[in-house]
Symmetry: C3
Subunit: 162 residues, 3 copies
C-alpha cells in the first residue's frame, strides 16, 4: 500500500506582542514553510495584537474590553520592541535598517506566510478575555483553542514558544 | 510480549516570573495533561517565584538571600505582568477579566495541574543561588537539576521554554 | 551493515540579550552536551550581543550601524537582567551569588560550551541588520542563516527559543 509521505511540521506559539519577536517568529515560520514544513503559528495573549487591523473596527464591547483595545497596539505596524524601544524610536530604527537591507517588513512577512500556506491561528480564549472580535483581526485566520494547538504540536518536529 | 504503550510527553521550562507567562505555561500544561500527555514543568530562575508560599516562612538565611527574598514576588498571587503592568494595576485587570469569564486563576491552575499529575519540579541550582529553601515553596514539588530536565525533554514530543 | 548510532540533538535559539537568559541558555546547552547531545546555539537579534568582544574593534561602518553598536551591550560581561536590573545593580548581585556558590560565570559557560563542542552560530541576517561584523565577535563561531538552523532543529529532540 502506498502512503503519501507526510510533511514535517513546525509550530510556533506567539505569546509576545513585540515587533522584534513577531519578526523572529515570522522569519522562522516562513523559513520552515520554504523548507517544506507544514507550519502553524498560534497567536495568544499579547501576540494577538500582531493580527489586529490597523483601522478601528466598530464592534459592540464592554468598557473593560474597550480599555484593553485602547491600550494595546493596533496591528503589526504599531508594535514596540522588547529592547531599546526608546519611546517608539527603536522600532523606527529597526524598520529603517530592514528597509535599507531590503528585508521584508512585518506586514510583508505576514502576507508571505499566508501565501505560503502557513496556518495562522488566533487563540479564542485570549480573544474572549481581551474582548477582541473576529472583525477586528485580519482576514484568513483560523480560530481555535489550546487543544488544537497541542494536536499540532504533538506531531511537529519543531515547537517554539516566542 | 505485550508492552504498555508509553504516553506522549510534554515539558515546559518556566523561566519567567510574570503572571501572564505563568498562566500561559499552566494552560498549556493542563491542556497537555488533559490530552493524556505526561507533563513536567521545570521552574527555574524567576519562574520559581510562582511556587513560593504567600506567607513568610521563617528559615535561616544570609543577608543577600534575604534581600532576594524581599525583592522577588512571594507566590502566584503576587506576580506582575510582562506587558502593561501599570504599577500592579494590569495584573488586577487581567485577574478581573479572567474571573468575569470564569477562567481559572493561577492558584487554581496550579492546583488543577497537581490534581492531574503534572510533575512540578523546582530547579535546585536556582534555589541555592537565590537562597530559596524547601519550606518556602508550596507542597507536592519535586526537586532536581538540569540533567533531570534534559532526561525528560529528550523523550518529549513538545518542549517549550517560557 | 553497521551504522554509527547518531547522537541526539538539541538546538537553542538565543534571541534575548539578557544575562539571566543567556546563562539559562548556556546551562542547558552545556548540560545537553554533557548528556552527549549534539548541541547548536543559534544567536539572533539581541542574543548576538552575548558574542561581542569586550574591547572596541575598529571596523568600517555607517552611522546607524555605529549607533546600534554604541547602544547595545558589548559582550557577555555587559548584559543586563530581564528582571530586577536596578540600573545594573541586579547583574552584579547575580554575579556575586554565582561566584559565592562557585557557579561558572557566563564567559566561563561560553568557554566550556566551546570546549564541549557546542556549535555556536551567529545569525548572518541579524549581523547585517545591526551592522555587526565578524572581527567584532569572539573566535570559534560559525556563521549561518535561518535555513541552517531549521536543518538542525528538524532533526533535534529538544528545541528551545530563549
Amino acid at each position: 500500500m502506498n502512503t503519501i509521505p507526510t510533511k514535517d511540521k513546525t509550530t510556533i506559539v506567539l505569546f509576545s506582542g513585540e515587533l522584534d519577536k513577531a519578526i523572529a517568529a515570522f522569519i522562522i515560520a516562513n523559513g520552515a514553510a520554504a523548507y517544506d514544513h507544514e507550519v502553524t503559528v498560534f497567536f495568544t495573549f499579547w501576540g494577538l495584537n500582531t493580527l489586529r487591523k490597523h483601522e478601528v473596527v466598530r464592534v459592540k464591547k464592554g468598557l473593560l474590553e474597550r480599555a484593553f483595545g485602547w491600550m494595546m497596539p493596533r496591528g503589526a505596524k504599531k508594535l514596540g520592541l522588547s529592547k531599546m524601544n526608546f519611546m517608539g524610536m527603536g522600532p523606527e530604527m529597526i524598520k529603517h535598517v530592514m528597509k535599507k537591507h531590503h528585508a521584508l517588513s512585518l506586514p510583508q512577512l505576514i502576507e508571505l506566510a499566508q501565501e505560503q500556506g502557513v496556518k495562522l491561528v488566533a487563540c479564542t480564549m485570549t480573544m474572549e478575555l481581551l474582548g477582541l472580535q473576529e472583525p477586528e483581526l485580519i482576514d484568513g485566520l483560523e480560530y481555535a483553542g489550546v487543544a488544537a494547538y497541542l494536536g499540532d504540536a504533538t506531531n511537529a518536529k519543531v515547537n517554539l514558544f516566542i
